[in-house]
């Protein structure tokens, strides 16, 4: 038999017992759909987070904090140990956070391969105003050159002496501008209260309008110049020991550092009581969690597929049994053993093909629908987030993988068919 005839015969044979074939395909369908959907969600979220996290900082920046013993719930109070780098401690909701001072900066700077260290001051401006009313503002200092996704304009220039900031898209209208483009280059005024209680204002230039962001929704970003000026106002008159304190320091290292060199920096910092993480480290913590969830769901998919392969084996054994005479006849008429084997293997692969193509296709449709609903519903305001993404490569891997599983499942029944003796098969009952 020619391949095309084998294919059409196998396909016709497959549909001869419609109910059984349908149920087997449903089992494969469920497995394929589960795996495609979970991977679709995983890929979608990961690629979104990747972009989001990138906006927090350049890859060659370490976020350095003071290491603090965390008390786990119910374990009682942690023992106090004096940390020479910690000047003040602040109480968070659940645990104590240690603040460092410029002394800490000096220690970090002394580590080899650290090129510069900047304190991540927390800024507390009172308001921002453009051409009209005053609005509340959360302002953060941008780390390095990395900027959030921009709708228009660009991220702030870290080294510029000009006061620069980027604002969330939701601030454009309130600040009195008709379009995102119109606000680029405009001067805005930021109000801030000094350490002595004097209300002051600082003028800054808007250089970019930020895309809405899942993690930092309505935070504006200031460059070093603006952040420095605001910080010196807000700490004016406060005793030095309290004034210059912060949770996090940003330590920059050369871009061409190897992983081992980076690890050396981290372990040296650890020895001095600091915890250092790159943006990638933070990202990988999130990704590990996402991957773990995906693996659990994939396992469900795999179990469904395992059950489906037994379905395939069973279906084919039954059809080999039912078609004993037909197999005998084909062999008597000169069909070779391996063609008979191929005929049944192809039938198995076709079951896998239809199950997986339908499953993957349905998953893609469901994904599209969810994405559409999400964009207008619970994910409204997160442009750029496609909840489910289905790269063609993943789809191809799922379909081909399932066809391979089906082929393996079909091996035993196909072998049995190929070994049927035409005489036995044609014996009169």
């Amino acid at each position: 038999m020619k391949l095309s005839d084998l294919l059409s015969t196998a396909s016709a044979n497959m549909w001869r017992s419609k109910g059984r074939t349908f149920l087997t395909i449903v089992a494969i369908f469920i497995g394929a759909m589960t795996i495609t959907l979970t991977n679709g969600i995983g890929t979608g979220i990961k690629s979104y987070l990747n972009r989001q996290v990138k906006s927090f900082g350049a890859p060659n920046v370490l976020l350095v904090t003071l290491t603090n013993k965390q008390t786990s719930p119910g374990s009682g109070p942690a023992k106090y140990t004096y940390n020479p780098n910690a000047t003040v401690s602040a109480s968070g909701l659940h645990n104590k956070q240690l603040l460092m001072s410029s002394k800490g900066l000096a220690v970090i700077k002394s580590i080899p391969n650290i090129t510069s260290v900047v304190a991540a001051h927390s800024l507390s401006p009172d308001y921002i105003t453009g051409k009209g009313d005053k609005y509340q503002l959360s302002l953060a200092q941008q780390i390095g050159d990395a900027a959030p996704d921009m709708v228009v304009g660009q991220g702030v220039n870290a080294n510029s002496t000009q006061n620069q900031l980027t604002i969330p898209v939701s601030y454009v209208q309130p600040l009195g501008y008709g379009s995102n483009r119109a606000i680029i280059g405009a001067h805005v005024t930021i109000g801030i209260t000094s350490g002595q209680g004097v209300r002051k204002t600082v003028v800054a230039t808007v250089v970019g309008v930020q895309q809405k962001n899942l993690i930092s929704q309505s935070v504006a970003y200031a460059n070093n110049a603006l952040a420095g000026q605001l910080y010196s106002i807000q700490t004016a008159g406060i005793p030095a020991a309290r004034a210059n304190t912060f949770l996090t320091a940003y330590a920059t290292f050369p871009k061409n550092l190897t992983t081992t060199q980076l690890d050396t920096i981290k372990s040296k910092l650890k020895a001095k009581g600091f915890t250092a993480k790159t943006i990638q480290d933070q990202e990988s913590t999130i990704f590990t969690a996402i991957n773990a969830i995906i693996i659990v769901f994939d396992m469900f998919g795999a179990i469904a597929l395992l059950a489906a392969s037994f379905g395939i084996i069973n279906t084919l054994y039954m059809s080999v049994q039912e078609r004993t005479k037909e197999i005998g006849l084909m062999k008597a008429l000169g069909m070779s053993r391996h063609k008979v084997y191929a005929l049944f293997s192809i039938e198995a692969v076709l079951l896998g093909f239809w199950g997986s193509v339908l499953g993957v296709g349905f998953a893609a449709l469901v994904g599209k629908a969810i994405n559409a609903i999400a964009v207008h519903g619970f994910l409204k305001g997160f442009p750029g987030l496609t909840l489910l993404t289905f790269p063609p490569r993943t789809i191809a891997i799922v379909v081909i993988g399932i066809m391979l599983i089906a082929f393996l499942a079909g091996t035993l029944p196909a072998l049995r068919a190929s070994r049927k003796d035409p005489i036995e098969a044609l014996r009169y009952e």
Partner: protein
């Protein structure tokens, strides 16, 4: 005239040891091209077993089968498949048709196996159906035909690859005498007009009597009365 099929000391034993059963023993025969032969004998005498051996559907326990003078044991299994596909045609007591498929598709199965393209398959299939006077049933489902029609479809299928030998095992066994007669006539005509060697297994004395030669089998042996 040379023998298309011959046997030398052919024996077939089923089972082993205590349970061994000798279905055929020491059969020596020779069938010439164009002969019309009846294999006759009581039920269980070994007629079908002999026919299966001659058609290379089964292997002998001892002895040889010669195909055009060549020992079949020396022919590769792939070539044996080809031989059955192209040189032999089969008609069975039970029809072995795919009832849910069309008559035409049933008839062209040997051509499909022989990798012949669709167009030629259809042409030759229709021609074969015409020769058994079933042209108008080509598109009908095989399951809807009468017994005699089914057997004619089987003959069309046996004919389609222009075989030189047709094996028919009780071809009229499932048919009433009148319908059986038309099938017999069809086989005889093929022998006469196309020179196809026909080997019919039967226990119908009358049918056997119309053949050129009768091979009587008794308890697995060729008995007297058969002129070898």
């Amino acid at each position: 005239m040379s023998a298309v099929i011959a046997t030398e000391h052919l024996s077939k034993t089923y089972g082993k040891g205590e349970a061994a059963f000798s279905a055929l023993s020491d059969i020596n025969l020779s069938i010439n091209s164009g002969e019309l032969i009846a294999i006759v004998g009581k039920s269980g005498s070994g007629k079908s077993t002999l026919m299966h051996m001659l058609a290379l559907l089964d292997r002998p326990s001892q002895g040889n089968i010669l195909v055009d003078g060549t020992d079949a044991a020396r022919i590769r299994s792939r070539q044996v498949d080809g031989l059955r596909n192209k040189r032999y045609g089969f008609v069975f007591q039970q029809f072995f048709l795919n009832e849910t498929d069309t008559v035409l598709n049933n008839v062209i199965l040997p051509l499909k196996i022989a990798k012949i393209n669709r167009k030629e398959r259809t042409t030759r299939g229709l021609a074969a159906l015409k020769s058994v006077e079933l042209s108008e049933k080509a598109a009908a489902k095989a399951g809807t035909l009468s017994g005699g029609q089914k057997q004619r479809v089987c003959i069309a299928r046996a004919l389609i690859n222009k075989p030189s030998v047709i094996f028919a095992d009780e071809p009229t066994g499932n048919l009433d005498s009148h319908t059986g007669k038309t099938i017999e006539d069809l086989l005889f005509r093929l022998n006469k007009e196309q020179g196809i060697t026909v080997i019919i297994v039967t226990h119908d004395k009358e049918l056997a009597g119309r053949c050129h030669r009768q091979l009587h089998i008794k308890d697995g042996k060729l008995s007297e009365g058969s002129d070898v």
